[in-house]
Symmetry: D2
Subunit: 342 residues, 4 copies
């Protein structure tokens, strides 16, 4: 039977991406769309590219009848998200795409986000939504916290290596490049076409980006000791895509073998032949991850390059993958479409 | 039962777009892929974005066992296409994406393409593949000739208006803007990123573009008298999308009413509310067409703006829509995915 | 002796472009920079690309000592501009880049801009700043009103033809494509990179764009009778450049001859050989205008394609050209730099 | 007296950039332009953006009368360059923009470029053209070898630090991102707009990029011991600009202080305030270099981000700066134009 879906925060890019994906999902139906600032509008006014779909009109989230909903996606900004989610029915299945439930430790949350958490109990309940590594917990979860797009990319690049002990833990560097849609539909000068296109820059340099909190939590847990990596995000003049170039110490061939083994049965993760590296162009609009490994002329160094689509696998696609599991549907349903190229 | 599909010319953009679409089609299976210049390679070498698919290796078209094939797409350059198609089995269902069978008159073909046609009989047999207007003929056709991408855009903008007699026939202007993928994967200086991006220019100015031949043929047939329009193509620094801005004489409201009526039951054609005009961004990667109409401050003038994706609805999507009809499948199967935005 | 220059509105794109140009001008020196919303900041905070220059700190325009200034550029939004300019010293030489003094008729101003003009006397005094056609008046002017960027492009395309009587006046169409910087540094959703890049659309369709007011005024004056053209602007996913594709009735060769003669001695206007058309890529960052003419297969129709840089020749370069004349400097000083390609 | 300049290889991007720059140089005049494959054409056919200039027609380099030439720029591909330069008059002042004379050691040359050097004696004579560090030698040089664009960016990021001994030498990583014009005007599939725009990838991963040879040579010389760095280039979907993100061990404040001191008197190098990092957008079209330094949350780590325009400061601007010195002209003449923004 078709599952009824609500999306709160439907006027942003991740909300729109959810609608795009679900519109081709055989087992889901969009029953309610909320965006408090645009309540009363139709979706084709907010996103004309969805004009061909027969979608419910935008309402406020308070107007949704949740008794009719099987699962609710929450695509709100962080801080707002915890406030809203804590008011939803206690048995509502929720996939949150914000940063609010990614960190399990209230202190860590406050350190990276600046405010006290308003729903500490739910913070503990939430399951971290990186599907490939939390699959079993997600199946039984009520509240799943979607991974940050940079954080997901970095974890696909490093988790199997840390688990297998094939790399050093004290000199890991991730040089990451993210598309502008990662910043959302917000009106900021640096996101204007005239300021961004034909340019390129780093930001949040020196370990200040909030997704670092996720790296700290997850990598330390995996390693059984504190792990801190260097992580520098850059802003790419493209709309979709993250590429992470990872510098690690370890044997490159062992790194590649570890990936090949760890990801052998993953439907969305493609490990490239040794020595090849991926392009964001080849995953755009899809839920696939491409990972490549090379050695370096310097002995004992390996380079791991990972590409994914920040809006899809890095956010809404991952969220849908989690929802499939939570609803007992096939994990890959609605997610196997090929990337768009060119 | 799943239909077995062959694609000849699988190493170009329209071939790749066909594979992208068919990979999500429930009733088709790719059984053979040919590209003579790259025979022996795997598709993930030629197009890494297709890496997740289990596809047959590239062969020469002569190596295909056509007895196993239900329908063959031919995505070769014009002239080559007629040579190959004339050697295929005489009962093979074929959708040709080239220009070779679009013009019915051998003289017109020679005028616009410069060479004598090598398969004049098949030229007569071929059905013109603009699905919305040749649906019944296509259902029974063996050989369908896909419309040119500019030609399709212009015909969606004008055919109902000419049929209904609501516009003048002697002062029609189509100012068209086409994405670079319309020129294919050819190595030309003007298609380099450094030459194209951040720039904009007209080309084939003055009525010399070959798609003009299709306009002449179709509009004259519709009007029952010779019709010549002015048509200026421009090269857009984007990868996908055509926008046609049409200037016609006639009552704008009548123009809009005519579209609303003509396209009321079309699954892929969206007529915007009067006064709104479309963006190519809103159809990218999809088979949808958005059409908008406005009046002008000058009485008796109307402006028709039409947007579609040149690779999808303008070429491979249209081809698949035709194949669905030829194979007795649902016309919209494999084609209802939403556009990619942003 | 070096002329002392003030710029009011220095935190927008046209203000920044003025600084870029003047920084290489041998006869000018920037003495004051005002931007009321950013007063107190340094220019390298507002525009890091100007970091290498030793520029005055931003102040409010009220803080400028105009007794030390030889000429003031005003790069404010329309409406604000007239309010500020009417409070400047009565003998101050001013080049206004806004729309406020382009229309001579207060009724026309109100029709296109919605508000009553606050400085009607100055409106009458102002000289229209399209240098090539108002050179003598500009030399003696105190207040010059810079032409709109679309309006300039269209006039370069049509003025000599209307003056020479070689084209029909009742069926002129300008299909224009303008870069995003023409919309300024304003925070609007449709100017975000994610909304604009890889897309393309028309706007202000149907004769509603305000630069139409300038076309009406100037073409009617030239023709000695009312002239209304059709003009459709489109938004290009590039940062600089306007391309106008003009459709006129007339003999194409006569059109070309008229341009060749009219622009023979113009230092900034390049008429291409007959049959060639320009690209915006070839004028980017410069004060040059490229004009091309072709015929059409339809007898008696000509196509005029014109390219210029909207921020330079379409706005700040034109303003500097006018300032040179007003200050008795060489008209081309500081303006002969080559375009940037690629 | 105006110096007479010849450019061999005038039909590529670096040749065109030289013409752009020299066209505004008060002390130079272009006397001859050679491009053997396009000899007989005019420059406005090859580069329409130079249409406004009165330039000599393209000839073969053999046709140039070098007795009339004060200095010759050679903008040919490597290998071709050494063959041509070895046939030029022995007293001709030459700035070579190719890779042919950058490496002093014939073995190193063969290792990185694959062929034996055809002019070993000249290889020894050549001065390495990184102006800021070889100024005195360049003044007296006959043959100067322009630095590679990536190599220049990396050296601006590291030379003062290695000289001052403020960073570790065994764990240096440069993650570099380069615009597509760095690959020249060559017809390669991966340089097409449709393949490159909206994408992003690494290349020559693992220490295989040829500019690595320059890093080895120069850093080892500076340090007085072998130094090997990790260097990963990436291809940016923009036309101009390189950004290097450097990861070093050392005190970040000491790193910043070292730059501030080393570059205090350099006219083209701007060291940003501590904690700020640059954008390629802010140097585009100019000869300026922006360098920023931040610390990291990990003690003892510093991040150095450097931006320059690969075609200008990374190639043709640097070449002109060197030519100025070789001809006894002011070092900054013709090079102080502001960047183009937006």
């Amino acid at each position: 039977m078709t599952k009824k879906i609500a999306i709160i925060g439907a006027s942003g890019y991740t909300g729109a991406e959810l609608i795009r994906l679900i519109s081709s999902h055989p087992g889901m139906e969009i029953a309610a769309l909320a965006a408090n600032s645009k309540a009363g509008q139709t979706m084709d006014q907010v996103f004309p590219f969805l004009r061909h779909l027969d979608l419910p009109q935008l309402v406020t989230w308070e107007q949704i009848d949740f008794t009719q909903i099987d699962l609710c996606f929450c695509a709100l900004p962080h801080k707002t998200s915890q406030e809203v989610i804590s008011q939803l029915p206690g048995d509502m299945k929720i996939v949150d795409l914000s940063a609010d439930f990614r960190l399990r430790d209230p202190q860590a949350y406050k350190k990276w986000y600046g405010n006290d958490h308003a729903a500490v109990e739910m913070q503990k309940e939430a399951v971290y939504g990186l599907t490939e590594f939390y699959r079993d917990e997600i199946k039984g979860a009520r509240l799943v916290a979607g991974t940050g797009c940079n954080a997901a990319t970095g974890q696909f690049s490093l988790r199997p290596l840390i688990s297998a002990g094939v790399i050093g833990l004290d000199d890991i560097i991730l040089d990451m490049k993210c598309a502008v849609s990662g910043a959302g539909r917000s009106l900021k000068e640096n996101l204007l076409h005239a300021e961004l296109s034909e340019g390129y820059n780093a930001y949040a340099v020196g370990g200040t980006h909030r997704h670092q909190g996720e790296f700290d939590q997850e990598f330390s847990l995996l390693a059984g000791r504190p792990v801190q990596i260097q992580f520098t995000p850059h802003l790419l003049p493209v709309n979709r895509g993250i590429l992470s170039t990872g510098y690690v110490s370890g044997d490159a061939q062992a790194v590649h073998d570890t990936f090949a083994k760890a990801y052998a049965d993953e439907p969305f993760i493609q490990v490239l032949p040794f020595g090849q590296t991926p392009s964001t162009h080849d995953v755009r609009g899809s839920n696939f991850v491409h990972i490549g490994v090379t050695g370096d002329r310097i002995q004992g160094r390996a380079i791991v390059v990972t590409a994914l689509d920040n809006l899809c696998k890095g956010s809404s696609g991952q969220a849908l993958q989690n929802a499939n599991l939570m609803l007992g549907l096939g994990e890959t349903e609605g997610l196997m479409m090929a990337p768009l190229f060119p």
